[in-house]
């Protein structure tokens, strides 16, 4: 069973484009903010890492857009994480509209930690924190589609 991190959002009018719905790029903002909130819960602070030139880099993203979010919508983003290799992690994310719970979009991402030289690398301290997340929010889903990348 998957236990998800959950983060609540509301659509802001400036996020909607001429077609009246939330612009596709904004979903990436939402997904990122939900992931960063989950990371922060385990003491992983993107801003602090960035200052030390340690990067948490997105290597791949897949998103299925199922419904549109529009002005005024309330929604929750559910996020889980699993390890696909020593230094590659997969995040599974889902947007659910409140209060109905209808699925709006689903995403899968591959993330990799890098050091100041830009090479895949994970400090032991970061690994400890990631392990805490893996224990708490690990998805059991096999992810054949991403594992080979």
């Amino acid at each position: 069973m998957t236990y998800w991190h959950e983060k609540e959002f509301e659509v802001r009018d400036y996020e909607c484009d001429m077609a009246d719905g939330v612009n596709n790029a904004i979903y990436m903002n939402y997904f990122e903010h939900a992931r960063h909130c989950m990371l922060k819960e385990a003491g992983i602070d993107f801003a602090e890492l960035a200052r030390r030139k340690v990067g948490l880099v997105v290597k791949r993203i897949e998103v299925d857009f199922i419904r549109s979010l529009v002005s005024g919508d309330q929604f929750v983003i559910k996020t889980s994480i699993s390890r696909i290799s020593r230094l590659r992690f997969e995040f599974t994310q889902e947007i659910q509209k409140n209060p109905e719970g209808t699925i709006v979009a689903r995403a899968k991402l591959v993330g990799v930690p890098i050091n100041a030289a830009g090479k895949p690398f994970m400090e032991p301290e970061l690994e400890d924190k990631v392990n805490r997340l893996l224990n708490k929010y690990n998805s059991d889903q096999t992810s054949n589609d991403l594992a080979h990348n």
Copy 2:
């Protein structure tokens, strides 16, 4: 052989985040603008369609991030289009850094035209214009990964 639509860009400083590179969500902005420029070349105007509640909807996107774009970078987005079913189109896009030509990111998208009722539908006039694009910028690439969605 694939003939690509090409659109030139330069990174703007406000598009870069604390990690110094262009934020992942901004790539979606770039890809969208490149597609809309290609569509416009065939007389397909997103804004005019939106006013008539005709939508060009992205159903799925996949992006591989290979390198980072940083402040000052010049780059070109190459876009091609192919038909994967009656009302589903696949866009293949690639970001190449200038002047070296190194690949920065690759994307595949599935787009669907919808009518004012939100149903997949394509006006004959729109179909004519899309056919012109398919003739000019059609990728021969088979796209097994997206065709089944």
Copy 3:
């Protein structure tokens, strides 16, 4: 005395630029969202008006940036409204960092309602709702700097 509308926010990492603080343009997003929330409280829905081509247009904005907001900051935006002429309204806004209450930025805006033809105009129903806001969140501040515009 001024009674303010209050809306709480938190800084999201994608809103910060290479200089590590929230990019100046993002403050406009924050201010807009706070105003739209205040308007919505009185039944004024920007999205619904936009669909009918009724516009709530910003004619002028002045912002003083006093401190920077950075990753992780929690803050509140306080908004009040006053009438400066028949069809011109002034919004006064202030960003206060939580929990200290230090002032981060102050803004003054002039807004004007327009009809579908783009002319300054206010439907009676809209006027009723605006009057409710003026009674609740009216600032007594004289605003010499903006009144003459």
Copy 4:
């Protein structure tokens, strides 16, 4: 007479909101990019300064919105700079729609250089470069409204 730096732009569809025009916050993006291009012409690179924690901080901005920019519009941003005190500079900016030359918006900003400690300070090397800009793009306009801040 004022000699302006000029930078050309085109509206991108993702920059337009539900009211069909360019969202007000996006004008700040445009103004910033035009200023950074002007600075770069004199060898002042915002990204390189940010890496050394040298900041070019906007303390105040005033914008008058005169017309709307909409999808497809081509425009130019004209920028000039003048010195209002030892460490305070005023930028005057204007958006002109092409090819008509109609004024879309006007902005005035106060900018201040700061050092890594966050204090107003200007390195001699930066001062030399700014002086070059002041000689080339200096506006003679008196700016009573901003000088006292």
